[in-house]
Assembly symmetry: C2
Homo-oligomer: 222 residues x 2
């Protein structure tokens, strides 16, 4: 009986994710699920990304945190619509699930945006297990976190479509093997695109922006 209950819950999650996907498609909105460990630089990357998309692509952001509105406050300065989800209202959840995204999205005028970025809760494990109805998933990995993370947290790297290797401005001060981390990423997800960049200095930001814009326009054309 326990298994039955669990199955029912999982089915409900899948249904909600499919429903979200339909709503986003109907409104021609491309959805990116941005995930990483705490402190790998998702918010700074997003600030810089929003600044460079300005004018080209109309964007909104949903930010997930267990508590606080730090990230939403930072992102709101970009002038785009930002909705903060605090999961402590949902039991302190360590991830965002489809029904939470659904509720948050009702606060956004989907007809007036092209891109919705979901900045997930900082966690390299649990968010990887939850389909929220997104089009693409991106994982941010800071070079300060070591080269072994793709091997130790393979599900995240398997489910994501692109990896962003952040904080490369710190490479001169670290013992870090760029070739090793890329080979570790490719050992769990062959041919995954990897962008090496620094959100802080904006080094390497351009290829990532080009990729993202391409993804958004591809969906629009369909």
């Amino acid at each position: 009986m326990e298994i039955k209950v669990l199955r029912k819950v999982l089915d409900a999650y899948d249904t909600m994710a499919a429903d979200n996907r339909e709503v986003f498609a109907k409104n021609d909105v491309f959805v990116l699920n941005l995930m990483s460990s705490p402190g790998s630089g998702k918010t700074t990357l997003l600030e810089k990304t929003l600044a460079h998309l300005d004018g080209d692509i109309r964007t909104a952001v949903i930010v997930g945190d267990i508590c606080s509105t730090h990230d939403a406050d930072r992102l709101a300065r970009s002038g785009v619509p930002v909705v903060q989800i605090n999961t402590d209202q949902f039991g302190g959840d360590c991830h965002l699930a489809a029904h939470v995204i659904r509720e948050a999205a009702t606060n956004i005028d989907l007809e007036r945006i092209d891109l919705l970025v979901v900045e997930n809760v900082g966690n390299l494990v649990c968010p990887a297990e939850f389909d929220i109805g997104e089009d693409r998933r991106a994982v941010v990995l800071s070079v300060t976190e070591g080269e072994d993370k793709p091997i130790k947290y393979p599900l995240m790297f398997r489910v994501c479509d692109v990896a962003l290797l952040n904080k490369v401005d710190l490479l001169p001060y670290l013992d870090y093997d760029l070739e090793l981390v890329v080979s570790n990423i490719h050992s769990v997800h062959a041919d995954m695109p990897v962008f090496e960049l620094s959100a802080k200095t904006e080094e390497g930001l351009e290829p990532w922006l080009t990729w993202l814009k391409g993804q958004v326009w591809n969906k629009k054309r369909k």
Copy 2:
């Protein structure tokens, strides 16, 4: 009925943690639960700690990872007994729970050690919710992760007894406010001891070692 089932599971966890605590006390073993985000430097800190405890305090380590034996391989070089738990055998769990620790501990001769360190799965959220029967909890926070993490992940900082601010050797290359992070830590956990250190350069390691040794001997004396 769902609530009943959940209550039963939670009770079972508490009972297992209490059982572990009794087993550890009977064998005069102090247990430290070491937690942090992925890549904040738990394993390097532990390598250096083991090297400096050598001779004084007989130690064993249980290492939790979703998969791989990277960390156990590194720690085994210290010459102490190391048991690796791969949680992918337990559904890819994002934390270590009491029953998993119980099973792992059967591989360690508890009568011959003073200190058992549990290096938890890299995750700043979920491990904070699980009592494994430890005596003390330590959270490692890398200065590369930003100052806001105690505010965004307060449970972890509330349940821990000590915070280790790691990678201070990188401070010259970061925009980081040490006073701010300490005040953020103390806003969620007043008077929590905070040790600023670099596991890599061993700067600031001594106060942490003194604290840890004091904790172990305190338990022995009881």
